[in-house]
């Protein structure tokens, strides 16, 4: 039988974690500066380049890289592949944290953060951004609901206040117990909703740049951008789960669950294959390969993205040798993640050529600080969560280890 997930005890503060804290504080300082002095004081954005690193990486790439949540939910819950249940909770945790930071990045990037609720009551169904905004808001709520059982599991029957608050113990425990029961019955509704919402906004993120028309380099500008975004998000879902799982095992000092991970890896090759086919098909139908003959930043970035982000990992994931070796599997996953990250940067930053632009946009130190700071905060919160909440399955049961070896 499979072990139940449980909190894992480890030392929270290590030298690496302290460095992460410093990076996070630096990021927060720049967020504070942006709130006090305005976007222009922290970023290199201007009237020609209204969107930059924060939209391209924190929002677009962030959403794509959090796709592990819905792909593993689809695999674990919808397809009922029991052996993958172990990855669902860690993936859910990352997705929840990831989307929380996406929402935060949006709030930091928009000029009037205090109006972030406007799309809820002011609708423009023609706008791709409206669709992304609404879907992300609902999906974030769904993720919180999906995560709730992990909290109720932890708290069920264990709420004990002393002193005056002890009157609350009874009703609170009842409430948690009630939630626990209700949620386990109704959860399938939210799980499916999560998958549907994900496919919707993952693709709508691709629709975003379609309206930029001529302003976007033809190597990336295509009416099938939404499909490209969806397939690439699906392709990066499992590599992201593998990547996190391996990093987490390493830093928590437990053995990677190679059995599950290499099975997950088997899905990646075919999905990347479909993605590559669409990319090449699109390129030949629109005859954009002629732009590759010019040597410039676009053609170099495009080739880079395709070769190292798609073709090399595709070959790797099709090889048994790679799927069985922790190190190679890790490298392959890193390449897919790198490819999707680069693709989003290319779509939103490199490909964007506004008329009348004299010099290209290069993100400022402040922009980088906020982006990297958010990643650091995410890692810190992840560590905190697995320490106190039942997220990770410990397969290395002492008995089992003895039998295995």
């Amino acid at each position: 039988m499979f072990e139940e997930p449980q909190p894992i005890k480890f030392k929270y503060f290590t030298p690496g974690v302290i460095i992460l804290c410093l990076i996070a504080i630096n990021g927060l300082a720049f967020i504070a500066a942006r709130i006090i002095f305005g976007i222009g004081s922290v970023t290199n954005l201007n009237n020609l380049y209204p969107w930059g690193l924060w939209i391209g990486v924190d929002v677009a790439a962030g959403v794509a890289l959090a796709a592990g949540g819905f792909t593993s939910a689809a695999l674990g819950h919808v397809m009922h592949k029991e052996q993958f249940h172990a990855i669902v909770r860690p993936a859910l945790l990352t997705a929840m944290l990831g989307y929380t930071f996406v929402a935060m990045a949006v709030a930091v990037d928009i000029g009037r953060y205090y109006y972030i609720w406007h799309p809820l009551v002011m609708w423009n169904p023609n706008s791709a951004l409206f669709e992304v905004g609404i879907c992300v808001m609902i999906y974030l709520t769904v993720l919180y609901i999906e995560f709730m059982p992990i909290l109720t599991e932890k708290l069920n029957g264990k709420i004990k206040f002393n002193g005056l608050l002890h009157y609350l113990n009874e009703p609170l425990n009842k409430l948690v117990n009630f939630l626990d029961k209700i949620l386990s019955k109704a959860m399938f509704v939210f799980i499916i909703a999560g998958v549907v919402l994900s496919t919707l906004h993952q693709s709508s993120l691709g629709t975003l740049m379609v309206i930029a028309g001529n302003k976007m380099h033809p190597l990336w500008q295509t009416p099938v951008l939404p499909l490209m975004f969806l397939i690439s998000a699906i392709s990066v879902g499992f590599p992201m789960v593998i990547f996190e799982s391996m990093l987490a095992s390493r830093s928590l000092g437990i053995k990677p669950e190679m059995e599950v991970l290499s099975k997950l890896g088997r899905f990646v090759g075919p999905i990347l294959g479909i993605y590559l086919a669409f990319k090449l098909g699109d390129m030949f139908i629109r005859e954009t390969f002629r732009y590759l003959a010019h040597f410039n930043i676009e053609s170099v970035m495009f080739i880079f993205e395709m070769v190292f982000g798609v073709i090399v990992p595709l070959i790797m994931f099709l090889m048994d040798r790679v799927l069985k070796s922790p190190l190679k599997l890790f490298i392959g996953s890193c390449l897919v993640i790198f490819g999707v990250l680069l693709n989003r940067i290319n779509n939103f930053i490199i490909a964007y050529h506004p008329p009348y632009s004299k010099e290209a946009y290069i993100p400022s130190f402040g922009e980088f600080s906020v982006t990297i700071g958010c990643i650091a905060m995410l890692v810190l919160l992840y560590r905190l969560a697995v320490r106190y909440l039942p997220v990770i399955n410990l397969h290395q049961h002492p008995m089992k280890v003895v039998i295995d070896e």
Binding site: M122, N124, N126, P355
Partner: protein, 305 residues
């Protein structure tokens, strides 16, 4: 009789009240206004008549409460050394391009929002803060805007600008076709002040006829092309020039409305919510079937044991 009529009166009041409620709820939740009126107005910019006096820049600022400074200072022609773009305190600017054929007669080109027939900014705006009105004007609304700057990404003419330096209530700024003046029956400030016949205001249909006549009468003065007649589905502001428009700073665009592709994708994905609902049902069915299988398998295993 009396009773009945009073009752029907009350009912109709009730109906009207619910109706108006429904309308106001609708207005909050529905798409932005996007009127493509048959007799929408426009301006024909005849670049060959423009002398670059920049009075329009001055008048535009005055009409919008922006500090315009002394009109004398606008005689300084050194500003033409650099190509300028509309900014947060200048909704329109005039640029000058040298004329090889006649160096004494440079070509001056006024730039402002084109007030597209199918405006990309209106389609893009996440909250519908940009509306197109009956006179053709495309106007930004400060009450709704969240400052996401998607309108700037969408506009093919690179017109909307944003107050990046402002921390609270930064604004999107652009020419509003003097919509407030239109409602009072006044000409746009720039058109009113123009001392020469460089700017002609009127119904767009008439302006296109006028432009055709001008080209016909003076074929050696103009190239045979009305910029804005077809660009991105047509614009309210139209341009005539003596040479190709890309050489005087107007972007080369195709004739398809900019929002066309993205809107059809958008509506394809959401066609009456059929695709999402279908996906939902399909996933639900999958979940149920695989769960059944799993249970059957487990039952069998138990039997076997």
């Amino acid at each position: 009789m009396k009773e009945i009529s009073r009752r029907s009166f009350l009912t109709s009041i009730g109906a009207a009240a619910t109706g108006s409620l429904a309308i106001s709820a609708n207005q909050a939740l529905s798409q932005p206004t996007n009127i493509l009126s048959e007799d929408r107005r426009g301006v024909l910019v005849d670049t060959s008549n423009c002398v670059g006096c920049r009075s329009c820049e001055w008048a535009c600022k005055n009409a919008h409460g922006i500090d315009a400074g002394d009109i004398e200072s606008y005689k300084d022609r050194s500003v033409f050394n650099n190509m300028r773009r509309p900014g947060i305190d200048s909704y329109t600017v005039v640029n000058e391009f040298s004329n090889e054929k006649n160096p004494l007669l440079p070509i001056d080109v006024k730039v402002q929002c084109m007030h597209c027939d199918k405006p990309a900014c209106v389609s893009a705006c996440i909250v519908g803060a940009i509306n197109k009105h009956e006179d053709g004007s495309v106007v930004w609304d400060t009450d709704k805007c969240i400052g996401c700057r998607y309108c700037m990404v969408a506009c093919q003419f690179q017109i909307p600008v944003f107050e990046f330096e402002k921390a609270i209530q930064p604004e999107i700024r652009k020419c509003d076709f003097c919509y407030e003046r239109f409602k009072k029956g006044k000409l746009p400030a720039c058109v009113e002040i123009c001392p020469l016949e460089a700017l002609t205001y009127g119904p767009r249909n008439e302006l296109i006829k006028l432009a055709r006549q001008k080209i016909k009468r003076n074929p050696e003065k103009y190239i045979n092309y009305i910029y804005g007649e077809k660009e991105v589905g047509g614009t309210s502001w139209l341009y005539l020039a003596s040479r190709d428009f890309q050489s005087i700073g107007l972007p080369k665009l195709n004739n398809k409305p900019a929002p066309g592709v993205s809107e059809s994708i958008q509506h394809g994905i959401f066609a009456y919510f059929v695709p999402p609902v279908a996906l939902y049902s399909w996933l639900g069915a999958m979940m149920w079937i695989t769960k059944r299988k799993e249970e059957v398998k487990q039952e069998k295993e138990i039997d076997y044991v």
